[in-house]
Symmetry: D2
């Protein structure tokens, strides 16, 4: 059960990297929404490979085709299916290496789970390419939220050991977030961004790779959304964020660092500001008891270094059951963090839309 | 929708801190399982307050009563309901402070979500006390898993700034894990444990509190469980772990630190050891592509400092909508990390049992 | 997975006929609803046994105890758990007959499913007694719907071969429905009702039993609720109605008889009446394409004769695996149809409430 | 939320009659299953229009294209998506009639639910054409079940007032069922079948339509599958059967007629036959307490007459809000029962496969 998600907005994702098509069914969107396709295309472009030296030179035409659920320039209220056809399905390349389990990839675990029948070409269903349909769904959700003035944005908090400052968890503004989202390499401080890119290129040079942390913020999200326990905002967001390939950690507000604080430091003290309830700090990242507080929702996502590297690695041939060596050839991303940013935002958007509908009904959207 | 969880094993948790009873319904357990109640009581005791100076002196009789689903010393296969009656329901204490929003607690967000109708006494449904039924369910799941030789255990990785080493992610042994689980204050290095306890007492002295990190390991879990994308092992585990009050971060394997590694360092290289597939390192924490690899499952959970502190804090009176000051009186845990350990293991156990049944059917259990 | 139901309102039912208690957790009710307990008790009484000669003389004290989710005379918005303690748990009677598979009961199928570990006393979890918690939940849902002027009512359409007329599917009025609901033996024509009761008593005399059909109507339900395909109103209602023990058929509007009509007879022609869209007939029972039309929702439920009868029947001893004879002693209902009426209405109420929340959000309730 | 269904096998159906494509995502199929495409095509052909005089002369090329989840002639274990492209998308015809609410159709309820934004061309998402993807999924499930010797088959029990006998609920044989399934017009008695077809042609002549009843049987299905209450076999089957357009009733075993029996007639007495537990009769249709008994599963589905008829009918123009008259032109089925037979079997197959996996795990399939 790998591709189905959601309570009020249901996603069903499908496809393999080198299959005929990848795509997504979005069930639960209300009728009558006019989609901004420039907006969607822009989000798709943010994720697309082949744009610059720090990404894979592979070109993928991430042009989606809407098969259903959209009519006369509006959503119909029935399931919306969007597909992206794969134009380049050269399977031959993969035949020779199908039994070589690439370290850090899902080759081995997929082989066991699917008894060797999984599509091994280019990672198959495990491919990062499957995040493209998620970005499509996210771009739909994100623009719906934006109409309610809810803004989602992220910056690259770190690449390897190169860090920049956190978002201002308390006073973050929508205009600022939108500016960040427009950047090719979304950082607050472009000088640090340049250093990050240099590190990526250095690792690329060495046929190695590097990871990083994405910090995401959501502002103007309504207070009182989410539930204690099993439907907490953190639970729902973490669930979908951890479904993105290469994610190894998720934290909210001060996150792991909050464990080093005293209660008197960690607690976000309340005050009333022009009849609005606010907190002086936002170490809880906008969520208390699983429910949104009205402060910015803040979370960070840890991405591991791209597992595909040119360097020689030890591994196994699963059919011969013998130890061998491998160097993964092909055109890899030396770092996937910058391309993962819109994926995190997309996952965040569909998750928050699902939560808000639980409280407000689908009518809220229209 | 706060209390329902699971696909194959369904939990439905209910109750408020000062209501008549708290409890849980566990639906989906197969018939014919003889439960070890000493085992369950022991897990309940690990979570129970009032045991020592570093916990709250509040006594709670966490004696559960099984209302259904158990007959002739065996599970019946129909829903098992266990309740814990609350004996001490002194509501009067809370009347005067019901409009005072305690910082770091869910008082405000609960007030908004429930329009002021939530049970405000002792945190109500948000209370950490609600984790007792979860520990009950976990103790059932954990002993079922142990019969298959699957061992779950945790240590306190840090309290405030006091850290101890990680588990040995590669060579961890079941016997070792079981020894850790037996400890009152589960750490690998008891000398560091003593320092942690001293820190807790120091913060208690100062009417403050402190947080920490729990590291959990699961060994002998079958390979090939979980799915890519929305049902990844990380997604499922993170979802339920983040439903535990006070959790602000979850990471797997090397977690956030993996972002600082190169691909050549982060990748866990495979080798065959006596016909078993293993990895030299385990930076991925036993999960690749959302599916278990057969290596120990490793994850860490960040707990914030107990929000209830005696120190004076700024906050608001929500009914008068004015800024006030508060010092939270009563008997609080200066640190909840040590009591949270069995809760994390319980959540982990039910989640993994749910996942394994997806693949193997409920028959696997028997 | 027997006891969990619902998308927006989640039910978790538990208990066995002769266990400590039976009960239900209702998750998803909004906060701030003051429950009318007279209303609930009245619905419980409608289902209760022991009231008259046509029901079992068994007395069951169906007094519920609310363990959670209700505070200061209002729902809290967190899970509401209600239990009914079983006072009469004489297990001894059942020991001798536990291997005798009563025809028409779930003894055999339960034995196989639960490998002989199910609670066999009085039907265990399969007992009709488990419908008491469902009636509780239904009484909550029903009164919430009534505040929106949505009225649910049923009459006994037939007992054995004794039939009365259908509801007026087009012009049914709320006041009329409420009058029917008040009756001990809810029929439109009390003379026919008397004949029905005579038939029941005759079968009782003969140590036999009889079944019947319940027709249910819902008026003033909003138009546009439900979905085509898998979430059709018929799908949702039929799902929960078929979960009631002894139900063997469900039909909407003209039901099976519509198959004998021509299209020109079956189609409900539309017209506009004072700006309201209506149909001249209502053969579709208020649902078209899975979505409510604003006309009364009409459905009928077929109940089989009570399987417990005094007459000698052939059956098997499952432990000895031999053919034997049985006459089921004890105090049985010669007919359960009249007691099933509030159960059908309860199931209908929770199902419709769940559907309307999908569209309107939980806010609609308040 | 219209297109998503299932617990262990998840379906996500999408498309509109005159959109680009209709299709389905099937999530949860295990890896390594070689599909028999002749089998699938045959099921698709059974449903296809345009084959003979008693169906619509419309031709639809129901050729499916598998976009994902199938590789090297085997399922991959990841989501399988199949689409059917619509070649004939002449929207113009519908512009003029979009505000005319056809009686018996979902035009009006869809208009309200989707605020007028639904795709009105040819019924849009409500179209019977959407059952083609369901037949595809069913053909996959059905062949998986057949490998375990589980046979699903149906006959047309009645068209209008023309009835044939029931299946032999007790002694039905797989070979017999397979013979029925092969027939163009699946009846037990072909002479009665001829009369049924004559009736259909007569109604066609009169620009009217007719309905009927389909009786379905499943043999060799394992005993002990399903659950009491909310996951009863009847609940699960009825849920998905009622999602098929035009269904107005579902009954199991003796169904509504069981209400006219005495308990001593209705009860299916057990006996042991060569160590196998059987019943002499099968009035319960193979299900007791929601759980399969090992006897044939028997149910009947009532289909209303095709709502599209040439005869003049009263209705409304929703935009002008005025009463008008309509005669629905175009090429309609005078009866959809014969084409609905494979749809019922498909829905039955996916539902039973889902239930059996709950107990046995996905491994059972392989």
């Amino acid at each position: 059960m790998s591709g189905t998600w959601g309570n009020n907005i249901k996603l069903s994702i499908f496809g393999q990297s080198h299959g005929k098509a990848i795509g997504i069914v979005i069930d639960g969107l209300p009728a009558g929404i006019e989609l901004n396709f420039d907006y969607i295309n822009n989000e798709m472009q943010r994720r697309a490979p082949g744009k610059n030296k720090i990404s894979t030179p592979r070109k993928e035409r991430d042009e989606f085709d809407i098969l259903s659920g959209y009519f006369n320039n509006k959503t119909t209220g029935t399931p919306l299916c969007a597909v992206i056809y794969n134009t380049n399905q050269n399977s031959k390349d993969y035949e020779s290496i199908k039994n070589i389990m690439r370290p850090g990839h899902a080759d081995y675990t997929g082989y066991i789970k699917y008894s060797g029948f999984n599509d091994y070409r280019g990672g198959g269903h495990f491919s990062g390419r499957l995040t493209a349909p998620l970005v499509f769904a996210g771009a739909v959700a994100k623009q719906i939220l934006e109409r309610k003035d809810i803004i989602i944005g992220s910056h690259i908090k770190s690449i390897g050991n190169i860090n920049e400052e956190y978002f201002d968890w308390v006073n973050l503004k929508g205009e600022f977030l939108k500016e960040i989202v427009k950047k090719d390499f979304p950082v607050i401080d472009d000088e640090i961004g340049t250093k990050m890119k240099e590190l990526i290129l250095k690792e690329k040079e060495e046929e190695d790779s590097v990871g990083g942390i994405v910090e995401t913020a959501v502002i103007n999200f309504p207070v009182g959304i989410g539930s204690p326990f099993f439907n907490s905002v953190e639970s729902k967001l973490a669930h979908i964020i951890f479904s993105i390939p290469a994610v190894k950690g998720v934290e909210f507000g001060a996150g792991f660092d909050i464990t080093k604080m005293k209660g008197s430091e960690a607690n976000d003290e309340f005050f009333i500001d022009e009849d609005k309830v606010k907190t002086y700090t936002n170490n809880n990242g906008g969520v208390l008891g699983g429910i949104t507080s009205g402060m910015p929702i803040i979370f960070r996502t840890a991405f591991k270094p791209t597992p595909s590297i040119g360097k020689v690695q030890k591994t196994i041939d699963i059919s011969k059951r013998e130890n061998i060596q491998i160097n993964v050839t092909g055109r890899h991303d030396p770092c996937i963090v910058q391309r993962a940013v819109p994926v995190v935002e997309a996952a965040c958007a569909v998750s928050l839309l699902d939560l808000v509908i639980e409280r407000e009904g689908v009518k809220w959207i229209i």
